[in-house]
């Protein structure tokens, strides 16, 4: 045990989106708050200024802003009977590191989940019958409803200055918005971003096919904005260096551009960067957290005592730290018992690359932002009848091409040589007239008994702690879902006049080297039953009531949207529960 620091009211582990939001809310309530962050402090002008923010090699290819696998990593296997090996270069997802967390390099696609997503098990069982679901699918209701989260979604959107077109304001459908979204209490704080040519064409083709396309809700500013904390953002310049990058000109919502400037002014808030929490400490009863142990940049170990512990690291690190701290029963897939590590999910992403006549189409793909795009939501969640299709789940799809950056934007038609003069010629011919939406089909991944996180029996980190081990593969349900959605997606490009299309279906086995999204979810899920969830509906740990665990680790399964809006709404929801309930009577908020 390291040297003991003075006690704080609250210690927050990880200063990304959820840590920043919770730190602000609890400091605002007058509590003495310290946040401990594994990575460095980051500021716009010193860490990603416009002078070199647009460096594709540095940030995209060499992963400047992400966790370095040499610092820590995970092991991975598809099946329970395989031996997992450490991931040594990020592929399928990009674990964040540093102040701001994934909020620095995210796309800022700011979605809400569907009302039915939060009661998924009940909803699907009622509509299709229990037998319609695969036997090993372990989906659950969340224990919280869309209506309960609505005010918290709203707070996050107004914090971020989300640019978008409302589809449903208090039950009234709005022209041009997403007609499937749950009712929102008010429109987005900012109008949608301007759409580039190709994105506009996609919207038109989708409309002609009878869909209701709408602009993707974006945390890239469509105009200057001052949020309720007084913090300002500038208008987006559509430079197309957002995803994997920090925004150099204060135009993308991030903790740095929305919360941290207000948070650091609070005298009762402090932060330690480059310090990694190695353990949440418990008292002798094992029912109460006494604080955390962390190691600073010099390798010194410290104990930070606190009355309340908030675990708000990246999803899988939340799970790992719970397992390493002996909090909650570890999940065992053989007996289907235990809670920590279960219902781990990712996303089911695919794409359609389409080629148009260069003499007729000039898309200028470099004019973009990370959350730009025209989408349709007809095939998300349970927005359509799954009965005839034999699968559940879905996703939004859209022309959401985020950039035309030079190193990676080289779509060439099938049959083109992989290198040499012919390849160069094809790149030149197609750069302006090809469409490559990237994560064009954004499908859900539901949870299964044999997809989970536990501690690796072999590999350890620099502190000799076992690495987290991921066991994950695609199941037939998701493969069917993806086939159906990708074909529907391609029909829209066909209607736009593409002369050639390449459907890049997602196929099994799950490939940890191919990028999908960074949306790792689950492993420390919320719910109503301590037998099948690690957290109650307020994200409070069932076993250790003075521990709250924030982030996508709480998702019982992943929906067909980007998770950050829901992650942040849950953080506000938990903060509200702490402020209005827990602080008045610290203890378990739910009697299960």
């Amino acid at each position: 045990m390291g040297r003991k620091l003075p006690r704080k009211d609250v210690v927050i582990i990880g200063l990304g989106w959820t840590g920043s939001i919770m730190a602000y809310e609890l400091a605002d309530a007058g509590l003495d708050v310290i946040a401990i962050e594994r990575g460095p402090w980051r500021n716009t002008a010193t860490d990603y200024p416009p002078g070199y923010a647009a460096d594709e090699l540095r940030y995209r290819i060499r992963h400047e802003l992400f966790l370095s696998p040499s610092q820590t990593t995970f092991t991975f296997r598809n099946k329970m009977d395989q031996t997992a090996l450490p991931i040594r270069s990020w592929g399928a997802f990009m674990p964040p590191n540093g102040v701001g967390g994934g909020g620095v390099h995210w796309n800022a696609e700011t979605w809400r989940f569907l009302p039915s997503d939060f009661v998924l098990k009940t909803h699907l069982t009622e509509r299709y019958g229990a037998a319609f679901l695969p036997e090993d699918m372990t989906i659950q209701d969340w224990g919280v409803t869309y209506d309960e989260l609505e005010p918290h979604y709203d707070r996050f959107e107004y914090l971020c200055g989300t640019s978008g077109q409302a589809g449903n304001v208090k039950g009234t459908l709005m022209e041009g918005g997403n007609p499937f979204e749950g009712p929102r209490s008010r429109p987005y704080p900012n109008p949608p971003q301007e759409q580039p040519f190709g994105h506009t064409l996609f919207g038109k083709a989708a409309r002609d096919l009878g869909y209701k396309p709408f602009p993707q809700p974006s945390g890239n500013m469509s105009r200057p904005y001052q949020n309720p904390l007084g913090v300002r953002l500038g208008p987006c310049t559509y430079c197309g260096f957002c995803e994997w990058f920090g925004c150099g000109n204060y135009s993308k919502a991030s903790p740095q551009t929305t919360v941290l400037p207000a948070l650091v002014r609070k005298p009762n808030f402090t932060a330690r960067d480059n310090s990694e929490v190695t353990r949440i400490n418990l008292d002798s009863s094992g029912k109460r957290a006494t604080g955390v142990t962390f190691v600073d940049a010099a390798g010194e170990e410290w104990e930070q005592p606190a009355d309340l512990v908030v675990l708000s690291a990246f999803a899988i690190f939340n799970v790992q730290l719970l397992l390493l701290s002996g909090i909650g029963k570890a999940y065992d897939p053989e007996t289907n018992t235990g809670v920590v590590g279960r219902n781990f999910t990712h996303q089911t992403i695919s794409d359609v690359v389409s080629f148009f006549d260069p003499t007729k189409f000039v898309f200028n793909p470099f004019i973009a932002s990370a959350a730009i795009g025209m989408c349709i939501d007809e095939f998300n969640g349970d927005n359509f009848d799954h009965g005839p299709h034999g699968f559940v789940g879905g996703g939004y799809m859209g022309q959401i091409q985020t950039n035309g950056r030079p190193i990676e934007t080289t779509p060439v038609p099938p049959g083109t040589p992989l290198w040499g003069a012919q390849w160069k010629k094809a790149v030149k011919e197609n750069y302006q007239s090809a469409m490559k939406p990237g994560t064009g089909v954004h499908g859900s991944m539901y949870s299964y008994r044999d997809v989970y996180v536990d501690l690796d029996p072999t590999y350890t980190d620099r502190f000799n702690r076992p690495l987290a081990r991921i066991t994950m593969d695609f199941h037939d349900n998701e493969i069917k879902q993806n086939k159906f959605l990708t074909d529907k997606f391609a029909e829209i490009f066909q209607a736009m006049g593409a002369r050639q299309m390449v459907k890049e279906y997602r196929k099994a086995p799950y490939d940890v080297t191919k990028y999908q999204t960074t949306h790792l979810c689950g492993g420390a899920i919320m719910g109503s039953d301590p037998g099948t969830s690690a957290l109650n509906r307020y994200l409070q740990n069932w076993d250790v009531p003075n521990l709250f665990v924030l982030g996508a680790s709480a998702f019982p399964q992943n929906a067909g949207y980007n998770p950050t809006g829901t992650v942040a709404a849950l953080a506000y929801w938990a903060a509200d529960a702490i402020r209005s309930k827990y602080l008045k009577n610290p203890g378990q908020l739910i009697n299960a």
């Binding site: 200024p49 500038g234 400037p261």
Partner: protein, 390 residues
Amino acid sequence: MQDFAAVERGRYLTSAADCGSCHTIPGSDHPFSGGRPIETPFGVLVAPNITPDRETGIGAWSDEEFDAAVRSGRRRDGKRLYPAMPFPYFARMTSEDVKDIRAYLSTIDPVRNPVTVNHLPFPLNQRMAMAVWDELYFTPGIFKDEPSKSKQWNRGAYLVQGPGHCGACHTPKTFLGGDESSKPLQGYTLQGWVAPDITSGQGPLAQWSRDAVAQYLKTGHNQFAAAAGLMGEVVELSTSRLTDDDVKAMATYLKDVSGPKPTADSSADAKVLTAGGAIYQDLCSACHKSDGTGVPNLIPDLTHAATVNTGDPTTVLRVILQGAQSVATDREPTGPAMPAFGWQLNDEQVSAVASYVRNHWGKAQREPTEASRSRHEVHQSEPEQDAKPK
């Protein structure tokens, strides 16, 4: 016995007079304990300890001795203070004002911190020389209302000319460091920053409304400019702590101070401006916009920022080379920063883009914009931003 109302008045005046800016080392947990070096054109002076410590602070001083130091520039031993202590301005305060400041300072934790003030070279280290200076530049006497002006104007004039001591930085100085009283607030360069010409009439603040000036003082930001460097400190420690009425009063008075139009820069070469314009569009326009107008309260409007439109390019060059962190205040907590470009642009390129910024939008300057001199000068001081590729 402490008079709470007097202490509160004193606390407010201590902010208005920005005592903490010199008498506290930035970031120190011991306010007013001195030790901060103050660069002057003649050498370095170190601000003394003004906590109530009896040995190393001012705890043993009588109120009369304190008043003599603040308003007459006289030390306890009768010797003269250097005018880095802006007593020629503080002389406009009443004895009651100064007594209240003393009352407030007496509530501060005493800190033992002996400070050697005088680091000037001979013969300037001889305080006798100050007798001549006082004769030339020091006019005693409290502020007198101008009866033809409004109450608000007079309050503003008192704050600007008295405790606020704005002219200490913003009024041009003679070779002896005294105010050029015929050119009030027409700009002066000190410690590597320009305290720009802040006159209206035809001066750089001509287009700023009274409310824009007040907003700048209160929040550090407005639609035109952002306070950084020394002015950032002034806003943080002084003007942001004043009431809305007082910053409006200061703005009312300042808007009534007229100055001439900054003169055109005949040396601005068309080729240089073309090169500067290309660099501007490449590196600057993402934030400051193609037309230089920026984003209100976030990114300065280069067509209206006083530091751009003042005669001396020092701040423009410094900020391009080194970057700048703007001030964060309760009303404007964002604190946006300008990144450094000194690692990326050579002297010629910095000069070109500075010339473009200072000439392109219709306001032009006397002096050619030389980056090499500035690069040398800013390297003497600590870098504002470390934005080199790591």
